[in-house]
Symmetry: D2
Subunit: 340 residues, 4 copies
Amino acid sequence: MIRVAINGYGTIGKRVADAVAAQKDMKVIGVSKTRPSHEAFVAKSRGYPLYIADISKKGSFEKAGLPVAGSVDDMLKGADIVVDATPGGVGVKNRALYEKIGIKAIWQGGEDHEVAGFSFNSDCNYKDTIGRQFARVVSCNTTGLCRIINTMDKAYGVEKVRAVMVRRGGDPADIKRGPIDAIVLNPVHIPSHHGPDVQSVLPHINIVTLAMIVPVTMMHMHVVQMDLKKEPDRNHVLEIMDKHPRIGLVKKETGITSTAELKEYAMDLGRFRSDLWENGIFEESVSCLGKELYLFQAIHQEADVVVENIDCIRAMTGIEKDPAKSVAMTNKALNFIAIT
Amino acid sequence: MIRVAINGYGTIGKRVADAVAAQKDMKVIGVSKTRPSHEAFVAKSRGYPLYIADISKKGSFEKAGLPVAGSVDDMLKGADIVVDATPGGVGVKNRALYEKIGIKAIWQGGEDHEVAGFSFNSDCNYKDTIGRQFARVVSCNTTGLCRIINTMDKAYGVEKVRAVMVRRGGDPADIKRGPIDAIVLNPVHIPSHHGPDVQSVLPHINIVTLAMIVPVTMMHMHVVQMDLKKEPDRNHVLEIMDKHPRIGLVKKETGITSTAELKEYAMDLGRFRSDLWENGIFEESVSCLGKELYLFQAIHQEADVVVENIDCIRAMTGIEKDPAKSVAMTNKALNFIAIT
Amino acid sequence: MIRVAINGYGTIGKRVADAVAAQKDMKVIGVSKTRPSHEAFVAKSRGYPLYIADISKKGSFEKAGLPVAGSVDDMLKGADIVVDATPGGVGVKNRALYEKIGIKAIWQGGEDHEVAGFSFNSDCNYKDTIGRQFARVVSCNTTGLCRIINTMDKAYGVEKVRAVMVRRGGDPADIKRGPIDAIVLNPVHIPSHHGPDVQSVLPHINIVTLAMIVPVTMMHMHVVQMDLKKEPDRNHVLEIMDKHPRIGLVKKETGITSTAELKEYAMDLGRFRSDLWENGIFEESVSCLGKELYLFQAIHQEADVVVENIDCIRAMTGIEKDPAKSVAMTNKALNFIAIT
Amino acid sequence: MIRVAINGYGTIGKRVADAVAAQKDMKVIGVSKTRPSHEAFVAKSRGYPLYIADISKKGSFEKAGLPVAGSVDDMLKGADIVVDATPGGVGVKNRALYEKIGIKAIWQGGEDHEVAGFSFNSDCNYKDTIGRQFARVVSCNTTGLCRIINTMDKAYGVEKVRAVMVRRGGDPADIKRGPIDAIVLNPVHIPSHHGPDVQSVLPHINIVTLAMIVPVTMMHMHVVQMDLKKEPDRNHVLEIMDKHPRIGLVKKETGITSTAELKEYAMDLGRFRSDLWENGIFEESVSCLGKELYLFQAIHQEADVVVENIDCIRAMTGIEKDPAKSVAMTNKALNFIAIT
């Protein structure tokens, strides 16, 4: 039973905590918050011991009716591994602490590759992760790209990838971030950081990425174009996607044409938090023009990395050495019902 | 075991179906759709027999992999009561059919009061509903207003109500409706229809309402001001709200200041579909200035009427004559955990 | 010829500069920026000398092709009066400088009343402003409230005002601010700061205000309700509004029901920057119920204070002692065509 | 002096009317509306005679204070050419009328190529247009694509174009259309209609386009990637763009990274209606990777076709046979100041 600490109980942390709790081979020994918030009340209702970064703030938590189990240091001492889900740029500052304590640690994609020296995707490099002390689960966008690129690379060989990411401005409950009525180039220059980030997992892939931000809260949308080494057959491509445990085909019969309807479908299916853990590839969009492949895929920014964190825990701790088995266990524990 | 048919399996219908299925004293005998859609696949996955309005379209459903149990007429024959959740303006056209068959029917607030000649709210007129053939559950906004107005009326007497409704433009998955970047007066004239609609349930209440539409998908926000007959004590007001089974106090300690954060909280608590069935009254906003009461309340347009439909079924069929017991049963079956 | 410096050439500053330049009795002697931006290029194209806060950054401006006329101190030395349109909270820090130099200064509503000890609205207290060294033009929302409240107070006497402000999240080009999909109570508590701010201009008015923020960029919308001392006649009320130089009646015949359509109309009429300098009161909404008055008014957050700044310059410098004459001059210079 | 009638005085029609009125060699002899609206009042304020489609509605216009000059038939009789700017799908129904009267007619891109049998872009096929009775100015997106593709084709030869269009959901004053919080694939299948539409102007171009809709009102954003026949030099590419009369380079120094800031800049420069008639290519995005060219361009959906309509009038009527001279005249009349 792997004892997991979640440092940073926010958008990603709270999902990782629940996903850990749903697995048979691991458990949540604590989660951390910096200040009282609705999420702290959620942790309490779940029975997750609540630790705080700055123990001098214990009074303000207790005054709000939130019992404090101790400091983050205390939490780490009882854990086999920590999932650092603090905001981007904060995680790197925790590295020294994890080193000192000698705990295994997983960072998120908000940190640079260098924080861990190793970037993880269960589809691409699970076996290389076994036994490592530090790893970084790449960002939601990079995770979504790695899955589809690696899958096509294994089947046909990938010559070149061109991808456009149309990104959500903020998460649903993030009321501070915009834009309200603008398409923002982020960045203006080409390529965006996503291409190099894919290469931190798949170094041999030739990829150019472009990114912009739009005023939506539910999922990113990717346009993915690949020049393949061998001419693909569309039916075969769809078959490969259908069999992939982390790719879901959004069927034409559902009438779904947007991120919002796809999220509604995940919600109606009873997915916890309406989460879409897989790449949502629109079946009708999958097009083969000679050696070229085109497709649209929806990536749920809050969800797709959650299952990756679970697999990463198994790989780093070595409790499961077969990637396929870990992925299957993770999916099963979450009642990962296919979207179609 | 009351046999319930759901005519119109959309935003409200799918929620009512699941709420019926969760109760011990009623069951879903069928749901209807007019054309294949993601919701038809959801019905299939739930095991709800799928009936269709136009039986000539049976082939298009079956081609999509959706078995058809029969026509809407067939569905109604096997039911004790039908919940009509078809789009506003369509429901009234079904009235003749329900009369012919002699089935009990519940309409939604998208229809006028005249469709049933009786408008229902479990807090206000449950007992008057017992044994009726036809009733209309008032709209989400009117339901939210009735709950708080009736509650304050019983405690202090209500002299006058002034309410401003800031309404969501469309539901989350409704990708056609706007506005995108505008505040729309809907209507420009004063009062809006909500005031008279409240009076269809509470005829003695003096009320002026104003309404506008803004580009959001998650919940309406009400500004409610009341001139009370007796000077209220704020602590007493909060106590009354806290005890009400369909009012939730959003506590300051949660840090929640918006509709989006409130919905996130409902999601994190594990509410099915992240639904907020109760009025979400912001505790900090509750203000007593002499005989005046002011407050903000969030109303989840997709959810608050769902529980009212369940109570309405019990009242009309007479299986439970005590409103408090019905409300408690409904809430319990949905694991209606308090938001604070 | 009053020499006016504009400290802070942003959303408000650039509009005030152009409005000053359009008047016959004043001129722009300089504008200031803290860093190169599209607005600095606009200043250059207008021929406004560009001054910078931190003269050590001169190189970065010149490298971008933007000639620098000197420091802010240099600018102030050549001016009779400075309009401080720096971001809220920054202006107050400039007070010591203005005092030292002994220059007249106008702040905006982003600063507190205390920054100047006097809050200005041309409709309410122009004459009290004559000769002052310091004044603060109240915010867009407060300006809009003062205009209509003072007008009704003079005609009927105002017993009590209740106002709800539905505010835009950010200005059109402000791509950082949200919310994207939320109604945010700002603040949650009642009253908002707007009521006391109105009292900084009209101390005898009894007013309660509530405010929220929604994801729009074009104009705020106010719901204004007043208990009047005398029963108003609707036609008389409309006549008073029609005659007011800073109130525009949005006629039903135009079909305009929203902020967006109103801004489109201002644009189509050829208003510079599509600005709505007046309160846009929706004629159809103006309702008299006994002694109560209800109405909706649109307030263009970028524009209504611009004309107030011009009048404030005239009052403080004493070049025009009659408020009506100043208002008429300001309006005429801007080709302030009535919206209907 | 070419006499121009504008059939359909809406988003495009009102802009074309003002652009015609600004030219020395043509004039507006009338505009048409189907019902009273704010735009009808604008026509009146401009002094454009107002004609109506259904003369039986004359009374409703006059009651609103809008004098009616006659029917659309009356308007056409006095014109040399009609610009049909009625909504997409309506224009084609007017064809028979134009044929009967024997008037020259220009349709917009909302109609199919077949409406006129000839699709126009001033950059690509002005000379082929001379003397034609019927032509169609292609849509805003196709116009923007044609300009940049044709320009690069002339300089380097274009092997293949891949373009992604991120489209605005509705125009600023269009309060009915969504989405509010969704990225909508429109269409889901690949390619979108834009590629074939480019080929209606440039038949030899090999192009694949993809399109989606997002909740913004201000401008579309294009990602354009081209495989060129010769390896381009970035500085040369920028030089070509800089010299093009309908391409504007958005310079890095302006700090502009979004559609909203770009529109603000057009507004600040005093452009009428803040219109961006040119392709707004982000200089920093222009990237040359071997024979590949990548760039982002903003396309103002309400504006870029307006100048094309003016050139099309000149070509069809033959009053100016040199495309460069027509383009220069059009631009000059509009005070088409470069955005940088």
